[in-house]
Symmetry: C2
Subunit: 558 residues, 2 copies
Amino acid sequence: MTDNARLIYLPLGGAGEIGMNAYVYGYGPEGKERYILVDIGVAFPDMDGQPGVDVIFADVTWLSERRDRLDGIFITHAHEDHVGALGHLWSKLGAPVYCRPFTAIHASRKLEEAGQDPTAIVRICDPWPATYDAGPFKVGFAPISHSIPEASGLVIDTPAGRVVHSGDFKIDHQPIVGEPFDDALWQSIGDAGVLAFICDSTNVFSGHPGRSESQLAEPIAALVASATGMMVATTFASNVARLKTLAEAGRANGRTIVLLGRAMKRMVSAAVESGVLTDFPPVVAPEEATEIPRENLMLLVTGSQGERRAASAALSRGSYLGHELKAGDTFLFSSKTIPGNEVGVARIQNALAEQGVEIVDADAGFYHVSGHANRPDLEKAHGLVRPRILVPNHGEYRHLQRHVRVGEAAGMIGVLAPNGTMVQLDGNAPGPVEHIEAGRIYLDGTAHVGAYDGVIRDRMKLALNGLVVVALVVDEDDAILEDSWVALRGLPEMTDDNADLAELIEDEIAELLPRLDNRTVEDDDKLAEAITRVARQVCQSEIGKRPEVTVMVSRLMA
Amino acid sequence: MTDNARLIYLPLGGAGEIGMNAYVYGYGPEGKERYILVDIGVAFPDMDGQPGVDVIFADVTWLSERRDRLDGIFITHAHEDHVGALGHLWSKLGAPVYCRPFTAIHASRKLEEAGQDPTAIVRICDPWPATYDAGPFKVGFAPISHSIPEASGLVIDTPAGRVVHSGDFKIDHQPIVGEPFDDALWQSIGDAGVLAFICDSTNVFSGHPGRSESQLAEPIAALVASATGMMVATTFASNVARLKTLAEAGRANGRTIVLLGRAMKRMVSAAVESGVLTDFPPVVAPEEATEIPRENLMLLVTGSQGERRAASAALSRGSYLGHELKAGDTFLFSSKTIPGNEVGVARIQNALAEQGVEIVDADAGFYHVSGHANRPDLEKAHGLVRPRILVPNHGEYRHLQRHVRVGEAAGMIGVLAPNGTMVQLDGNAPGPVEHIEAGRIYLDGTAHVGAYDGVIRDRMKLALNGLVVVALVVDEDDAILEDSWVALRGLPEMTDDNADLAELIEDEIAELLPRLDNRTVEDDDKLAEAITRVARQVCQSEIGKRPEVTVMVSRLMA
C-alpha cells in the first residue's frame, strides 16, 4: 500500500435520486488519486420541474478536471439510468469503457449516436473472478440478477481492500433470461473480506421478499389463453426476460408475435446478437401482420410509462402501423408505473377503455415483479458480502437513510453519502471527508444547461405567469415615438369584461410615457422597469395575474 | 305524469375524471324540462397540463343558458371537488343552494369570498325521509358515510320515479365522526322501487372490502405512544374523523395538540360550530406552543399531498411559526398520495429525511383508510338500493366502464355516461339521447379560460420550447431601420461553442433583411414569418431547439 494513499468513494449522481447513476472511486495520495467511474446514466425530466428538457445527467465537471487520472469507466448494465449519458459525456472524460457484450452493444450505439469513437468500448467476456486492471484497481464483473440481461455487480480490489459495488439487482434464482443470482458466488466474493459494499437502495421500503421473474409465466399464459380478440402487452423494452415470457405465452396460444416500437425491436435484436436471448418465438413485422386475424396476434409494445410518443400511446389514439384496437381486445400493462408517470398512464388507459379494450394492469401482482431487491433481499445480500462498511447508493435521500439504518442494525458501519459526499473508505474512521459541488446538467436540445443557470426556471415562469411583450421606439433626441405595441403570450386576449387586454396595457403605457423623466427614458433598464410595473398592474387588476414582461426598446440613431 | 315529459340525467363534470363534480337532472317535456344541479366542484391543475392555472371547473354554459328553468343546486358534501366552484359559478346559475349545516358553512364562505350573497344557501336540518321541493323534484338528504362529516346521498323523487344519487361514499358502520352507514335506511330507500342509481365509481378497481375509520385508532395510538420527539401528522383537513383520531392519540399520550395550516383550523372550527365534532381535545395556537417541550407536542398539519405552500412543505424547508423539526421527531402521513402528487410528496419526505425525521407513511395500511366504496361495497350498495338502471359517476372513463360491467353482471341496466352524455332515465329504452358539449374552464388568476382557447397551450409551448423576441423598426418609406434587437426567454444565452445566441440571431436577421422584397416588408405577417424562420434555423443549428418566436414590428408614421 502506498504511503498516505487513501481509498475514496464519491457519488456524482444516483445518490439522492432514482436515476442518473455516476459513482467515482479513487485510490492514491490525496490530490493524486487515480480514479474509475462506475456508470454514467440519465434521469428523466418532467414538465413539473424541467419543461422541454430532453434528459438530465450528473455534472461530471469535477471528474473531467481530473480526467488525466481517470483510468476507466465501468458500466454495470444497459439501463438508461446507468449508461444513457455515455454519448453526451464521454468526450469530457475520455477513458476506456468496460462492459459486458450485451451492454456493449448499447454503449457503442450511445457513442456512435453522439459522434464519438465506439472503439473506446472494451468488451468484457469473462466474468469475475477474471479481473481487469484500471490504474490501482482490479475490477471484475460478477453476474447478478436484475430486469435486464448481463447485469453485473463489480468486485473492485484495491490496495486498501475489496470494495463491492452491487449495481441494480434483485435476488432471483430463476430469472428466465440471463444469469440467476448465485448465492455461492456472492458468498465467495465475501469470503476474502470486504471493506465496503456500495448497495442499491431503491426498494428498501418494501418489506416482503421479492419474487422471481419465473413466477409470471403461468399467470401470463393463463391471461393470454383467456383473451379472445387481439392481445397487446407493454413492458420495459429492456426487460428481455419479460418479453420472452410474454412472447412464449403468445406462441403457446397460437398467436403470431409482433414487436411495436423502436426500443422493443432494438432490445430483442441486441439480446439475440449477444447470445443472451435464445429460443425467442419468431416475430413478424407490423406491416406484414395486418392480414393476420386479430385473435391470432400478440403485439409487444413500448410505452408502459405513458410516454406520448411510444407505441402504447399511438395505439390508444388510433391506428398505428396498420393496427387498431377494438372492443374485445386485451391490453396488459406488465409493468409498474414509476412515480410521476401515473397521469400519463391513466390517460392511455382511459383512451383504451373508450375503445372498449379490456385493460389488465399489474396492481394485483400477477403480471409484474420488480427488478430490485426488497429489504429482506438486501439483508440477505449484506449477509453474503459481509462488508465492514455499507454505503447505500441509488435512491432518494429517504431510501439511503433507511438503508443505512438497516445496515447499522446488522452491525455494519453505515455511511450516508448523498451526491457530492466524498467518503474515505479505508482507515480507522471511515466516513465523509469532503463535499464536492455535485450538480445536474440538463440536455436541452443539444445544449448543456445547468440546473441552476436560470434558463429552465425562466421557462417555468413563462408557463406559470404568461408573458407580456412591449415594444417601443425612442428617437435620436430621447423622445419616445408613436405608441408602444403590446403582444401577449399565454394570456387571455380579452378580460372578463370583454375588453382587449393588450389595448388596455397600451393605453396605460401611453399615459405613463409622457410623465417619465429624462433619466428614466435615457436608461433602458429604468424604462423597462417602469413599463413592466404598469403592465403588471393592468394585468393584476384585469385578470388577477402578474405576468412576466419583456420590454424591447429600439433607439434610433442620429 | 305530464304528457311527453321525460326524466334526464346529464353529467357536466365528474364523469370522466376524479374531481369537478356537476350533475344535472331534468324533468318535463323535451326542451321545457325543469332542472336541478347536484354539486359544483373543482378539479386541481398540474404543471403537466395546466401550468399556472388556479383551479378547473365544469363549463356550465349549457345550464346557464337555461337558468330560468333551474330550481335548485344541491351539495352532497363539503369537499372541494363537490362545492369548490360554487363561488366562481353561482352568478351564472342563480338558484338556491341546498345543503346540510356543516356543508353550509363551507358553501357560504365560497359565496362570500366571491362577493356573492350567502343568503342563497338553504340549510337543510332534517335528513330524508324529509324532502324539499325543487320544481318537479322532491329531494331528500340521506346521510351516508364518507371521509367528511354530513356527507349525503340524495333521494330524488320525480313523477317518473325515484332516482338515488349516492354522492361520494363508503360503507363504514363506525366512522368516528358523523353518521354511520345505515343499512336499514338504504334498504328502505330501495324498498319503494328505484328507477336509477347514480353511483360513485372512484374505487371500483379495489377488489377487497373497505375498512372502517375506527380501525385506525389503535395503530395510530400505538405509533404516537412509541414516538419520542415531536409528533407531527398530516391528513386531509376535511377528514375531521381522522383529525379526531390523531388528536385523541396525542391527548392519550400527554401531548398538546396544535393545528398548523389555515384549512386545518377552519375545518375543526366548522365541525365544532355545526355540532358534528364533539370532545375534540383542546388545541393551543402554534405561537403559544413553542415553549412546550417537543416530546409533549403533537402537530396536525396541512399538506398531505405535497402542496408547496402548505404547512408540511413549510416544515420540511425549515422553521414554521416557531416550530422546527429535528432528528428524533416523527412525521406521519395519514393519507394516500393522489396520483400525480407522488413527486411533490417525495420531495417533502426527502427534505424531512435530511432533517433526520422518522417518516411513517400509510403504505402498510395501518394509518389510512379510503373514504370511497371498494367494489364489494359498491355491490352491497347496489343490492340495498336495487335500481333498474345503474349510472356510474365520479370516475375516469375506465372507472365508469368497469362499474357499468359490475352492475350489468348483477342484472341492472348499466349506462355509460361520460360528461356531456344526456341520458333519458325513464321509458322503455333508457339510455343516451343527446350529446352536449361539456368542457372544462380554467380559473387563471381571475379570468375564466376555456381549456381549448389556446391560452394555456401557448404557455406550455413557451415552457417546452423557450421564446425568441425580435424587435425591429420600419420607417415611413417601408425601409427597415437599424439593426433588429433580439431578446431570449427560457433559452441559454451562450451556445455550446460559447457564442452569444442572441447576437447570432441578430446577425442572421441582418443578412436577411436587405434580401426581402417590398411585399414582404410591407406586410407585418409576412415579415414576421420570414424572421421567425431565420430565428428558428439559427436556434436549431446552434442549440438543437426550435423555439417560439414573437416578432414586434414598429412602423414609423410619416
